[in-house]
Symmetry: C2
Subunit: 204 residues, 2 copies
């Protein structure tokens, strides 16, 4: 079974338990049957027309009062009964699930956006994030101050909502955030697990 998660900048392909990433611009869509979700407006119409494609959007219903929830967020949450779902990609989305019901969520810029923002503000703020950063004391130099100013607010707000609930981290920057949480699982297949659950339901 072939699953595609089509984002704004790249495509993730899931097959035989493995995820492969491709650049959206140079990607050739497969000839065999595939299931997909797509948040990229420019690609939606094109893919919908392919006779071997099955769009999972609209094929499942996440219990929520949220209006306009992206299908990628919805499907990642769909596989989670209880906990905080964090997808750290080009944007970082945070969604709270309680008893298989979505309680709401929010969106922050992705980690790489912060770096760009700093560079646009001042040449003095051009830096790479410091991977060794510690969050339990205040920074005492600029590279620390910038990394802390990116990571700490994100960690702080996620922890405030998570409390003692489990945090499910997925997406390209999940690994960079993982070490700052205690009750946390890193699951790069979270979206695909949600998709598999939907497929199982619609094909039963």
């Amino acid at each position: 079974m072939l699953l595609l998660d089509i984002g704004n900048t790249n495509i993730k392909v899931f097959e035989k338990g493995e995820i492969k990433r491709f650049d959206l611009k140079s990607f050739s869509f497969p000839k065999e049957k595939f299931y997909y979700i797509c948040v990229n407006e420019d690609f939606k119409e094109k893919i919908e027309k392919l006779p071997n494609s099955v769009n999972l959007e609209g094929k499942f219903s996440l219990k929520t009062k949220y209006r306009g929830l992206g299908v990628d967020r919805a499907v990642a949450c769909y596989g989670v009964f209880d906990g905080v779902v964090v997808d750290a990609g080009s944007a970082i989305t945070v969604d709270l699930m309680i008893d298989h019901e979505h309680q709401g969520g929010f969106i922050m810029p992705g980690l790489s956006s912060y770096k760009e923002s700093f560079a646009n503000i001042s040449s003095k703020l051009i830096c790479n994030l410091d991977e060794e950063i510690t969050l339990d004391r205040l920074p005492l130099k600029t590279t620390e101050a910038l990394t802390y100013g990116v990571i700490k607010p994100i960690v702080c707000v996620i922890k405030e909502w998570a409390k003692d609930k489990k945090i499910y981290l997925t997406g390209g920057d999940a690994k960079a955030l993982f070490k700052f949480f205690e009750n946390c699982v890193y699951d790069e297949k979270l979206v695909f697990k949600g998709m598999q659950k939907v497929i199982k339901e619609i094909e039963c």
Copy 2:
């Protein structure tokens, strides 16, 4: 007495208790004596050469272990004995003062940077921040989710460091953040008050 705070995009002029903002590109420097601080590398040399200018950088010493603290942050802190100093401009700087000693601090992108970041990530994330946002419940639609994702992490991390200390808010976006803190003063003259303190000391 004429005071100038020269930033990356504009100049703030303080005279007779009033602050005026000017675009850096079209600003004509005054002919009379003025005191200034400058974080803009492109302008430093030019202003230093003016015979009527007095650079306050290097004329005061903030007690701190921080290396490379910007003079604007240092001077804002210089006038504060105890509390958290937040300067919400093109970047948002947060610094902790205890017993007139600087304990460290960090830097986040300014509010307008977040809006730009979202727009760069996806056309679906283009939005104006929702001024009516409430932070005590999870968002249930995209405009709320984006505003919350900007404001809440900033508020969260500042509160964590402030605890029961007073928060001193200054800078162009201070007003947008003010309502989210309890023990908070909004003081648009904070940097100039620090400058006045330095001038008083060096001219005594």
